[in-house]
Amino acid sequence: MSRSSYLKPDTVALHTGYVPESDHGSRAVPIYQTTSYVFGSVSEGSSLFNVEQGGHIYSRITNPTVAVLEQRIAALEGGSGAICSASGMSALFMTFITLCSAGDHLVSATQIYGSTATLLKHTIKRLGIDCSFVPINDAEALRGAIKPNTKLVFCESIGNPGLEIADIPGIAAIAHEAGIPLVVDATFATPSLCRPIDHGADVVVHSVTKWIGGHGVAVGGAIVDGGRFDWQQSGRFPELTEPYAPFHGIRFWEEFGPSALVMKMRAESMRDIGATMSPHNAFLILQGLETLSLRMKQHVANARQLLDWLQRQESVTWTNYPDLESNPSHQLAATLFPDGAGSMLCFGVVGGRAGGAAFIDSLQLSSNLANVGDARTLVLHPASTTHSRLTVDDMKAAGISEDMIRVSVGLEDIADIKADFSRGFKAAERVAGAA
């Protein structure tokens, strides 16, 4: 197990990175709503700019409130450090462009979030970075896709929305054989259910907008450096091992070792791209993080109860949840997610695409929107929203069907969620009956 704190996870979530400050004794983490920080002297300012000492210069790069969130997430994931960003997508973008340059290549799982697929397939391609997509648990396909210029393997610990569990230990072993790191988007799991670094991942990315924030009030992302990958030995990452001209020729690996990646990302991506998390958003997300494990237990309990009930409904044509024995990932889910594989589930309803639409439109309690991981139950029709930019073939490869309803199971009383869904099934049945 990778450790970055000797406190237990529930204590880390409440305390790490902050002790009550001396001037006012604020028990809660204060919101440092400031752009910049006064230097005690010209010499001090100079030494901060030259990384001779740690500290804050400008809130695009670091901020004390954001730093508390970063340290808590790093500690919960067992990483050497973390960077929070404006969104999960900016966290992914910064990770990819820190590790890849024009002419490089990466390998990604096929079953990933639609916007991430678009980023990999189209946006970074314009920067000269190519991506191959493979069924991520197919070891031979993964091995075959890795080329001399491949810089990383990417997957989601629980694929969105197909809910495929990535075999993190197996994928990490293949990536490491080739001398490249494994980057895992662990948004659907959170460190409360699975810590990818413990299973061999090298970098973990989150959209903290989702379960970590947990209340649907703030957008943000996080990148955690596992600290174990040997960038020097790999020989594929001169940007981390050779002199970096914009910073007095600093060699990040030599100087910082286990925190080389986050230091490079801070020095380059936060400076040049500026996808900064606001201190107010960090504060809001901290409020969510403090109760993460309690909420995840209830999310999982509600998801399992709802799944059990859905399987007994005549209007439901199929169900999918990683714990299901019919799911090919069932055994992996049991191994990697002993406390439950999240609170996302999918199902189909009678009446196909029209039945699905009728189901969603008749719901009153559950919200039809493009987010997951809220305290409230959320539903979505991926084929017409998040994954609408994909072709039918790409949708199929991503594990999506036209009748799929995606549910992010919330924390309401399960009886009320079932009652709401019963209303939806009646609407779907009417459509199916009329067809």
Binding site: S2, R3, S4, S5, Y6, L7, V12, H15, T16, G17, Y18, V19, S47, N50, V51, E52, Q53, G54, G55, H56, T62, N63, P64, V66, A67, E70, Q71, R72, A74, A75, G78, G79, S80, G81, A82, I83, C84, G227, R228, Q232, H248, G249, I250, E254, E255, F256, G257, P258, S259, V262, R266
Partner: protein, 269 residues
């Protein structure tokens, strides 16, 4: 930079600037299972403020080749060879924890190479619990956990970090788990000459101690300072890992002593 010491490739951090042996040189020696990175928040300041910096990885540690040295006496002799290989006549030597025991032995065998000695979070002897040595024999990672749980002070245990967003415990663990911690701990445990060497030295010396140090407690450090005739500074609130936990305060004290000595030397002519 890399240089050859005793025929083996040896890494020494230079604080991010090209090493210039013509400048006053400050050498930083790491503690058990650690490497040059434990001095990351001191070396750059010296390198960019008129000094040449050498922060070697001892043999078999992190970026340096070779087998780990078995005794503190061997480490002291190796440091003398290292300084010669770097082409330097005299250095200010700073050691953290076991690193200062190495510096003591260097002072014993080659006092002419030293302008001053500074110990950070240290004492004249560093007894090691046999259970820790046993743990290190089985797994450097498990021993690192034990050592860091005791080594970092209370604020660091709560995740307070001098560098925003970083987790020093995780960084320390990664470095220690990959280094010959067992050999270093055995060398520490077997070293008993600290008091004897201290009393024979005639060098400017200072100790920077930590109030919450549970590995080399202040009491032991104070007793040793008396034998050494050293100035003592106690930094409140922090634990044994001072260069990482309290980098600014540690740097400030190093700047004061080494700066004043350099001024004195220049004025003397």
């Amino acid at each position: 930079m890399y240089l050859e010491v005793r025929g083996l490739e040896t890494y020494a951090a230079t604080g991010g600037k090209e090493f210039d042996p013509a400048l006053p040189t400050v050498m930083f020696v790491h503690g058990s299972g650690l490497d040059h990175r434990s001095w990351a928040l001191q070396t750059r300041w010296f390198a960019y403020n008129g000094y040449a910096v050498l922060a070697p990885d001892l043999p078999g540690h992190s970026l340096s080749a070779g087998e780990p040295l078995e005794t503190i006496e061997e480490m002291g002799a190796w440091l003398a060879d290292f300084i010669r290989a770097a082409g330097v006549d005299r250095v200010h030597a700073i050691g953290h924890s076991q690193g200062f025991l190495d510096v003591l032995e260097l002072a014993e065998v080659a006092p002419e190479m030293l302008k001053s000695i500074t110990g950070v979070g240290t004492a004249g002897a560093i007894p090691v619990n046999p259970a820790l040595i046993e743990a290190a024999a089985q797994s450097a990672g498990n021993a690192a956990e034990m050592l860091l749980m005791w080594g970092f002070g209370p604020d660091a245990q709560y995740g307070i970090s001098a560098v925003p967003g970083m987790q020093p415990i995780a960084i320390g663990r990664q470095i220690m788990a990959a280094n010959p911690l067992y050999e270093d701990l055995v060398a520490c445990a077997n070293y008993t000459r600290g008091s004897e060497v201290a009393q024979s030295l005639d060098l400017p010396a200072q100790l920077i101690l930590a109030r919450k140090d549970r590995l080399t407690p202040v009491k032991a450090g104070m007793a040793f300072a008396e034998e050494l005739g050293a100035q003592v500074t106690i930094i409140e609130r922090y634990g044994h890992m001072l260069p990482i936990e309290a980098p600014r305060q540690t740097l400030q004290k190093l700047r004061e002593l080494i700066g004043s000595m350099e001024v004195g030397e220049r004025e003397a002519g």
